[in-house]
């Protein structure tokens, strides 16, 4: 029961393990909200039509103080509260999974934002960051499908925001801080990475690509990249 916007946005696939959870949450919130919205607007317009001014008809004197009249407010009031509880429950579950939990990582990468480019630090063959075989790329992130990735998000100058729409992932990068997050790609492909926090006049050019590859492609890329960087 997950919305599929691909008829409208063919590029917006669900490419991470939690993408469908976020979409599902949006869908259920949307459903609840739509019911309320239609009910409220429906009653609203019906009342406007029903009680339009007619010749010689005086309005009723209702204070809204009587219990049986007040019910019309108090019952929906309670129902709103119940809906809220469901929404809170759903969103906290999703939030916990995406942002608070950190599943065991297969690989850790570092993502560095600066005006106006992304630098990606891949761990290289030894799968450890901050060693001599690290592969630095600009605006091209290479990851392997089905692996769990941790990313360390940093910034060199101003605020940036690391957003991968197909993962439904978004996190601001803050100078001075290192923020850790995770993702696990579920399908191969080339997708967009955006900066979504205004970072100066070049904000509009701060696009990058994420290349999700299968194991063979990824290994091929890595050996090619290492060869290029080793002197």
């Amino acid at each position: 029961m997950v919305p599929d916007l691909s008829w409208l946005f063919p590029d917006l696939v669900q490419a991470s393990t939690y993408a469908h959870q976020i979409d599902g949450l949006i869908f259920w919130v949307g459903l609840l909200v739509l019911v309320w919205f239609l009910a409220a607007e429906g009653i609203f317009f019906w009342l406007i039509w029903k009680f339009r001014a007619k010749e010689g008809q005086k309005s009723q004197y209702l204070t809204g103080k009587e219990k049986h009249v007040k019910r019309w407010i108090t019952i929906p009031h309670g129902l709103v509260l119940i809906c809220d509880i469901f929404i809170v429950w759903g969103s906290v579950m999703v939030w916990h999974n995406v942002k608070q939990r950190l599943p065991e990582a297969d690989t850790t990468i570092r993502v560095i934002g600066q005006q106006w480019a992304w630098t990606f630090q891949h761990p290289g063959a030894d799968n450890e960051l901050d060693t001599s075989d690290d592969i630095f790329t600009v605006d091209d992130l290479h990851v392997e499908v089905d692996k769990v990735y941790h990313f360390r998000l940093e910034s060199r100058d101003v605020l940036h925001s690391f957003s991968v729409p197909v993962f439904r992932l978004k996190q601001d990068a803050i100078p001075g801080r290192s923020i850790t997050g995770w993702f696990q790609p579920t399908m191969t492909g080339d997708h967009l990475v955006q900066c979504v926090e205004i970072c100066g006049i070049g904000h509009g050019v701060m696009a990058a690509r994420i290349h999700i590859e299968d194991a063979n492609q990824h290994a091929a890329w890595m050996s090619a990249a290492s060869a290029a960087t080793t002197p």
């Binding site: 009680f51 005086k58 906290v92 926090e197």
Partner: protein, 565 residues
């Protein structure tokens, strides 16, 4: 006020003459008009900015008629100042200062605000702040382009934002504007608390006055930390301190907290006056007592108090501790309860009424209908899990325009068309009013529904050209952007009808008389427009609440507050 009876029509002979009379007037109605027209002037500038950057978004790279080619720096300055102007120099002065100044003394039966000179000072500071803001657009380096939220380090250091002078002037203007509204707010609160007409009890005050005062209190209690924060940011910009510079022990997150601790209550600061005017108009034109006066008041207070607990939902993914997000999700969704209840009360008020669909009533009903869209889409953004995807996309943008547009534009037109007869003594042309109404509300939906869709497609904000984002540069995306832009052009064009209507009605509209809408509250018991001192025959006494419409014991369906018996 001396010799009121004799002197009231010769007021001009006191004090300075000519244009100075208007500039130095301490009359609350004159100051209200000054706020109103300054606000409308700024709205025209804000609208012009929207026109320029919407054209750039729909047809990137074209030379926009009336502006020319838009560079990225200019684009950022345009969106930044559009947001700043529309909130701080349009919504605040018009909804709170203009209507507050005009309505509070008239509605509570007083001859003026309690501190007329502080009132004038407040407007003058406000005017200076507006001029500084406009000047900041023309200094070397251009206007500030770091978004209206002005997050440091981008806003703090000129090597990042490239607008050395522009950003400092922008900040100075905002800080001065805060001080102007603190002065104004103290005046509103004190006037309402102390200067009510004899016999007027707390629950006899029209709701719009309550709402403006609650809004002023919210503003006063939330803006303090941001004033301190703005001083710190100003020192960062000018002297090079490191309050927000992580390299020197500062913290950029701090500004975000200070900003949104004010920024979220600010939403309710402008919402409450608008909803108050809507409620008054709906009661008058449906000839109904409010369905639960105290309920509205309590929900307004509850909303106001809760609004202090929710600010960090603007920062879910901004690097705050993720555990805190859970707390703020709960409080954010909780605030939907009193707001929903307030909407229910408004809807319930229509029941059993005798609804007269005059122009002000259409605006009031449109406010409710459109604000509901803004309200329900806010649920997605308050739910932390869903916000991960929606944050900083056009979904957010469309959501808050669905709240701010009803508040600042529809609410203002509602109040303006309703009190126009009182302000100028002439009736507005109803047909032209309705043409303007439909010409504004329908295009409004055509602007922002496409933006909701674009936001769901992942289009993020504050990008001057999507050519670097192939997924966002497809023809269907551009079609949606163009629909929004053309709808904006249509909407802007229809505003000419409004200005024409104002002028033509002011010149040759029919005389309004004291109480053209057959309303109850006190402002309708004096002349239109009211003279200096408001009631030349003596200030009124109050005998009942303002919403006694359709009382079964009465021949007429209204019962003015000042009528004994």
């Amino acid at each position: 006020m001396a010799d009121t009876l004799v002197d009231v029509h010769h007021d001009e002979h006191h004090g300075p003459s000519g244009i100075l009379k208007y500039i130095w007037s301490t009359d609350h109605k004159m100051i209200a008009m000054q706020y109103m027209f300054t606000g409308m002037f700024m709205a025209i500038i804000g609208g012009y900015m929207a026109y320029v950057f919407r054209m750039q978004l729909a047809f990137p790279g074209i030379s926009v008629p009336g502006f020319g080619q838009v560079s990225p720096g200019e684009y950022n300055a345009l969106v930044t100042n559009h947001g700043t102007i529309m909130i701080f120099w349009v919504a605040m002065p018009v909804l709170i200062a203009a209507f507050g100044n005009y309505l509070i003394p008239l509605m509570i039966g007083a001859d003026d605000m309690v501190f007329p000179k502080i009132n004038r000072l407040s407007f003058q500071i406000f005017l200076v702040s507006a001029l500084i803001l406009l000047a900041s657009l023309f200094v070397q380096g251009g206007g500030f382009g770091g978004a209206w939220t002005s997050y440091p380090p981008l806003s703090a250091m000129s090597q990042y934002n490239l607008t050395d002078l522009g950003s400092s002037l922008w900040l100075l203007a905002v800080a001065l504007e805060f001080i102007a509204f603190l002065l104004g707010g103290i005046n509103f609160i004190t006037t309402l608390m102390n200067s009510r007409a004899p016999g007027m009890k707390a629950y006899d005050i029209p709701l719009v006055c309550w709402m403006i005062v609650i809004a002023s209190i919210l503003f006063m209690l939330s803006v303090g930390p941001l004033i301190a924060g703005a001083a710190m940011l100003f020192l960062d910009q000018t002297l090079g301190t490191g309050f927000y510079d992580p390299a020197r022990g500062g913290d950029p997150i701090l500004w975000q907290h200070l900003f949104w601790f004010f920024g979220h209550p600010e939403v309710y600061v402008v919402l409450l006056p608008a909803i108050g005017m809507t409620i008054d108009v709906i009661a008058t034109f449906s000839r109904k007592k409010i369905f639960g006066y105290k309920l509205v008041l309590y929900t307004a207070v509850a909303t106001g108090v809760l609004s202090f607990f929710v600010w960090a939902h603007h920062q879910f993914i901004a690097g705050i501790d993720p555990r805190m997000a859970n707390v703020f999700t709960v409080t954010t969704l909780l605030i939907s309860v009193p707001i929903a209840e307030m909407c229910f009360v408004v809807i319930a008020t229509l029941y059993g009424g005798s609804i007269r669909l005059k122009t002000p009533m259409l605006w009031a009903l449109a406010f409710m209908a459109e604000f509901l869209v803004g309200g329900v889409t806010g649920i997605f953004l308050g739910a932390s899990g869903a916000d991960i995807y929606f944050h900083d996309t056009y979904f957010v943008l469309a959501h808050f325009h669905y709240t701010f547009f009803p508040i600042a534009i529809i609410g203002t037109f509602c109040g303006f068309t309703y009190w126009f007869p009182k302000m100028f003594g002439k009736m507005m042309n109803d047909t032209l009013g309705k043409i303007h109404f439909w010409g504004t509300v329908i295009p409004f939906n055509f602007i922002f529904i496409p933006l909701f869709v674009l936001g769901m497609g992942g289009q993020h904000r504050r990008i001057y050209n999507y050519q670097h984002f192939p997924e966002l540069a497809g023809p269907e995306m551009y079609l949606l952007r163009q629909v929004a832009t053309i709808a904006l052009l249509v909407m802007l064009a229809f505003q000419l009808v409004f200005f024409y209507n104002c002028i033509i009605s002011w010149i040759k509209g029919e005389k309004a008389g004291r109480n053209p809408w057959e309303a109850n509250s006190l402002e309708w018991t004096t002349e239109s427009p009211p003279p200096h001192g408001n009631w030349p025959e003596g200030l009124p006494n109050v005998y009942r609440g303002p919403y006694e419409y359709g009382h079964p014991d009465r021949e007429t369906d209204y019962w003015p507050q000042n009528e004994p018996g």
